[in-house]
Symmetry: C2
Subunit: 195 residues, 2 copies
C-alpha cells in the first residue's frame, strides 16, 4: 500500500446528511442541508451544526437560538440534496419539496413531519472558526416515528427507514449489516450481532 | 405517521466510526474508536473528536496535543469494534489487532498503515462539555491510499475501500449509490450522478 500526502482538507466520511429546519414562524421557516454535524457529548446530550455565515439560515438560527435536526432517508434524498443547493432567499423550501412543517415541543423551529427522527436543539454557543461557524447546541427532545419501533421490546429500528449518508460528495443508502457494537468481544457461542 | 417524544439523547446517525491513534512513542501508542467525530469547518479545515476523560487515550491526546483520525473499512471492522471496547491500559492494540504504526508527517501520533485515509490533527482547544470533552482540532495533512485514486482524472474513489458507518449501535457497509451532491438540480438531459 502506498499513500499520497494531501494538503489539509475535510475527509472524515461517511457522514449524516441532515435537513436542519429553522424559523420562528411560517413566513420564516427554512431548511438547510448539513453534513458538518454530529454528537459532541452524551450527557448532557449535545450536538453541533456548522454553517457558513452567508447562508440564508445562518441569521435565522442565530436570531432564534434554536433549530431542528431532521434525519434523512432514501425517500427524502432528493429533498435533502435540493435543500442543500437552493437558497431560502429564493424558495419556500417546505412548499417546493412538499414537506410539512409541524410545531416542535420545546423550540420555535418547526419539525419536518416526513423525517423519521426530529431532534430539537437549543444553541448554547456560536464559535466563529473560519468559513464555518459552529453552533454548539443542547438536545432538548427527540421525536421518533412509531412505525420503526418494535412495541414488544421497545427497540427502535432506524435502519428500516432507509437512512442515507454522505461520503466524499456522494449520497448512499446504508448497506450490509456488519455487527452490533461489541460484536468483536462476544463469546463465540453467540452468533455475531445477536442480541 | 405518529411519533413518540423521547427524552433528550444522541440520535444523529449514520456516523463514521473512526480509529483514532495517539501517543508520542511506540510504548505510548494507542487506538480509540470514536463515532463522536466530524468536520466543523472547511477553511481552515477543522474537525473534532469527543472523548470521555476516563478513557486511556484521553490523557495521551491531551498531553501531546495531537492525534490521527484513521478511516475504517469492512476489512477493519473487527479491529474498529475491538479498539472501541477494549482499553489501552490492558492491551497493546496495534499488536493485538495486527495493525502497523507508521510515522506521521506533522504530528507525534502514528498513522495506522492499514487504514485507507489518515488525517493528522492538532488540538486547538479542549472543551469540557459534560461526560465528553471535545478536542477541537485543525487538520494538518491527509494521507490517502493510492489504490483508490483514479490516475487519469485525480478522483479519489473512497467507496472502493468499502467504508463502514455506525448507526444506532450497529455497524454497516455503505449501500446503494443514490446520487452526487447537486443531483437534484441537474438538467434532465444528464443522467443522475453523472459527472
Amino acid at each position: 500500500m502506498s499513500k499520497t500526502l494531501w494538503k489539509p482538507g475535510t475527509m472524515i466520511y461517511p457522514l449524516p446528511a441532515v435537513m436542519v429546519s429553522c424559523g420562528s414562524e411560517p413566513d420564516e421557516y427554512n431548511i438547510i442541508t448539513i453534513a458538518w454535524t454530529g454528537t459532541i457529548c452524551t450527557e448532557p446530550p449535545m450536538c453541533y451544526i456548522s454553517v457558513r455565515p452567508h447562508r440564508y439560515s445562518y441569521d435565522i438560527i442565530k436570531k432564534n437560538g434554536d433549530f431542528v435536526i431532521n434525519l434523512t432517508t432514501k425517500k427524502l434524498a432528493r429533498a435533502t440534496d435540493w435543500c442543500g443547493v437552493r437558497s431560502g432567499s429564493k424558495f419556500n423550501k417546505f412548499k417546493e419539496m412538499g414537506l410539512t412543517a409541524e410545531k416542535a415541543t420545546f423550540v420555535k423551529s418547526p419539525l419536518i413531519k416526513e423525517s423519521p427522527v426530529n431532534i430539537e436543539c437549543k444553541v448554547i454557543e456560536v464559535k466563529e472558526l473560519g468559513v464555518h461557524h459552529m453552533f454548539i447546541s443542547e438536545v432538548l427532545g427527540i421525536h421518533a416515528d412509531n412505525q420503526y419501533m418494535n412495541e414488544s421490546n421497545g427497540a427502535f429500528h432506524f435502519e428500516e427507514s432507509r437512512p442515507i449518508c454522505y461520503s466524499h460528495g456522494k449520497y448512499y443508502e446504508l448497506g450490509d449489516f456488519i455487527g452490533k457494537f461489541g460484536f468483536s468481544v462476544k463469546k463465540k457461542s453467540k452468533r455475531k450481532g445477536k442480541k
